[in-house]
């Protein structure tokens, strides 16, 4: 079985020539070496909704690259450690990883509020760190905000809400011209608050009047009173920025209370789990996503089928971003002319090479902007009412 998978992967790889590991223009200094990477992910605790997917995507990519000759002959080794969704542990784990395995680069952490703590640490240690799931404000390049000194070692391959939410609102406005909206936003975590701030700052451009902003604590047993407050305003659109299952709870309650308008949101909508939990109540809810499962271009189709055969389940956006992250680092490592003896020098070389990454990933053609943020197509998707998504429109980066 394992050999069968490996064979299939090799075929796949041959099919998508030009991907990370097929380069041959190498110095042989890579042969037999190990490219050590470290990942800090939330595998337990509240971030356990996202972290395990990221890990699966990364493991799949590492396996694929190593089975097809590695990076110019060097194998990738990935040490993934759990931060228990806790900011303080996240920082500790980053430091321990840095010291114990001397990685060439770090990936993660999963949650935005952990990233705000870990990224500046990586910056001060001068090790490249690639965020794979964080979408909040002040992740890149201003990880030192309010200081304006840019962070030069911090990258992310996860589509920020600052790009995804406006794109989503624009696409919907161009089609349906809504006049009024209500914003429902979780008020006690960074990710949700950031999303709310972005929504509030965007709607005006499209002539949508925000009738009310309804903040709520995530630890709410029943969202009915909050939803009643929103529904009674009779808005065309309810914007929801929150984590976990909360968007689905709100959608369900709003439909029960007779709301017939549109739901728009951000990354909080983009997991199959949320779509599944919202079920029929979520049908048509739109969001801007970094990835769309049914995209048929080669790099995505290959990823989806390999993922399904390894894990017997569908990948999600976080798996795709984790997978892409390894491809990005492998590509950069391939071009970086690593010495494997000067760790600090290699990290800087890798950083420089990362800035010039231009590869095909399951997310689409991928590059970093000059600010180390994602430059990729935004897929505006809507929930199909059965736990899946359909594509509304793709927005190419300007």
């Amino acid at each position: 079985m394992a050999r069968g998978v490996a064979f299939a992967l090799a075929l796949l790889l041959a099919a998508c020539g030009g991907s990370a590991s097929t380069g041959t223009n190498t110095s042989n200094s890579y042969q037999g070496k190990t490219i050590q990477l470290g990942a800090i992910l939330s595998l337990t605790g509240a971030g356990g909704v996202y972290g395990p997917s990221s890990k699966k995507g990364m493991d799949l990519a590492v396996e694929k690259i190593n089975n097809s000759g590695g990076v110019n002959g060097a194998k990738i080794a990935l040490d993934t450690r759990d931060d228990a969704s806790d900011k303080i542990q996240s920082q500790q784990v980053a430091q321990t990883l840095f010291q114990q395995v001397q990685p060439l680069a770090l990936l993660g952490p999963t949650l935005s509020n952990s990233a705000v703590a870990v990224h500046p640490l990586a910056e001060s240690l001068k090790i490249p760190i690639l965020a794979v799931s964080t979408t909040g404000i002040n992740i890149v390049p201003n990880c030192n905000a309010p200081s304006t000194v840019p962070c030069t070692y911090v990258f992310r391959d996860s589509l920020g809400e600052e790009a995804a939410i406006p794109a989503n609102i624009k696409v919907y406005s161009d089609m349906k011209h809504p006049k009024t909206g209500v914003l429902m936003v979780a008020n006690d975590d960074k990710f949700s608050k950031d999303g709310g701030t972005i929504v509030a700052g965007t709607v005006g451009q499209y002539g949508i009047q925000l009738l009310a902003t309804i903040p709520f604590p995530k630890a709410t047993a029943d969202f009915a009173p909050f939803v009643t407050q929103a529904v009674q305003k009779n808005p065309d659109v309810i914007f929801i920025t929150s984590l976990g299952n909360i968007p689905a709870n709100i959608m369900r309650e709003a439909r029960k209370q007779g709301f017939t308008g549109q739901f728009l949101g951000g990354n909080g909508f983009n997991t199959a789990a949320v779509s599944k939990a919202a079920a029929a109540d979520g049908k048509g809810a739109e969001s801007g996503s970094a990835w769309y499962i049914n995209n048929t271009f080669t790099s995505n189709a290959g990823f989806v089928s390999a993922y399904k055969s390894k894990y017997s389940s569908d990948p999600d956006q976080f798996a795709a971003q984790g997978y892409a992250a390894i491809l990005i680092l492998a590509d950069a490592a391939k071009r970086a002319n690593l010495t494997f003896s000067d760790a600090a020098g290699d990290r800087t070389k890798l950083r420089d090479a990362m800035e010039k990454v231009s590869i095909d990933t399951p997310l689409g053609p991928f590059q970093f902007t000059s600010k180390h943020d994602v430059k990729q197509t935004i897929w505006v998707i809507q929930m199909d009412g059965n736990g899946g998504f359909t594509l509304v429109k793709s927005v190419t980066p300007s």
């Binding site: 605790g45 356990g48 008020n187 789990a273």
Partner: protein, 304 residues
């Protein structure tokens, strides 16, 4: 506004149902059972598992879930409480051992995904799920512009019925009298020939069965079943409820539940969501400062 009052009553029912079991253990054993929220969660998880993963109809699944939760109550008693009583440990240590159990229960569900050891119980890891449409009844009525959800109405009815039944049991039955005697004075009860250990065990069984029932009704009405529903959604609110009502008092827990529901919804409507967030704890704080015995608590217990 009428809709909001209705919302408040429904929320109050959820709080009350959770808090009844919580307060029962405190009333009889004098310990805060912090594993109660985990049992609440398991009530929902087990029902979901039986219905969705094992194709059982809702009613028998619910009965089994409630019984299993009752047995978990015995587990709490035998693993986390009785050994400490035997060793004469201070009540505070029961807080720690029940936290330990809660950690274990939550972690088991949180880490259960397809292919793992507990995949027969749960397959969605940290994610939240709901019963698929059609597997459980979920009617909604619209009356005079009001939305009334059948499942929430069900919680309301259950809460009221339960309170009446429990009130009857506590007041008029042999078991109830024994229970109250133990709650009143453990040593005197022993002298009267009451088997205190057995009373404790049955208290834990009943309390946890009620917690499981509350959890599965929550899962039905709110359509949110995840490893965290107990810990995040109801545990601390439950604490506020039993303080408002008077710790150890069952009618107090019910009334406290409705009171908290009303306070929260009023704060939301009048002052907005940011104020709503903290109001339960402000109310708890004030109640303890002004009237520590709560609305219904007859006396203060200060054993620690």
């Amino acid at each position: 506004m009428t809709q909001q009052v209705l919302n408040a009553i429904f929320i109050g029912s959820i709080y009350a149902l959770f808090a009844v079991g919580y307060t029962l253990v405190f009333g009889v054993l004098d310990v805060l059972n912090l594993a109660h929220s985990a049992v609440f969660m398991l009530g929902a998880v087990i029902t979901y598992s039986l219905v969705v993963l094992h194709g059982m109809p809702l009613l028998p699944a619910a009965v089994i879930a409630v019984l299993v939760c009752g047995l978990l109550g015995l587990l709490i008693e035998f693993v986390a409480l009785r050994p400490l009583r035997r060793r004469n440990a201070p009540p505070i240590s029961a807080l720690i051992s029940t936290i330990g159990l809660a950690l274990i229960f939550v972690a088991i569900v949180e880490q259960a995904t397809p292919g793992t050891f507990f995949s027969w119980l749960w397959q969605d890891g940290a994610n939240s799920v709901r019963f698929p449409a059609g597997t459980v009844p979920d009617p909604t009525y619209h009356l005079a512009g009001l939305t009334i959800e059948g499942t929430k109405l069900g919680i309301l009815v259950t809460t009221v019925v339960l309170m009446l039944v429990l009130g009857y049991v506590m007041r008029f039955t042999q078991v109830g009298r024994a229970l109250r005697a133990v709650a009143e004075n453990r040593r005197a009860a022993t002298l009267l020939g009451i088997n205190v250990d057995r009373i404790f065990a049955s208290t834990l069984f009943v309390s946890s069965a009620l917690g499981g029932l509350a959890g599965l009704l929550f899962g039905l009405a709110i359509s949110d079943i995840s490893p965290y529903i107990g810990r995040d959604q109801v545990e601390l609110k439950g604490l506020a409820v039993i303080v408002l009502g008077g710790m150890g008092s069952i009618p107090g827990a019910v009334l406290g539940g409705y009171l908290l529901g009303l306070i929260e919804v009023f704060a939301l409507v009048r002052f907005g969501g940011n104020v709503e967030a903290g109001v339960a704890f402000a109310a708890l704080f004030l109640m303890l400062v002004i009237r520590p015995q709560g609305l219904f608590g007859a006396r203060l217990r200060e054993r620690l």
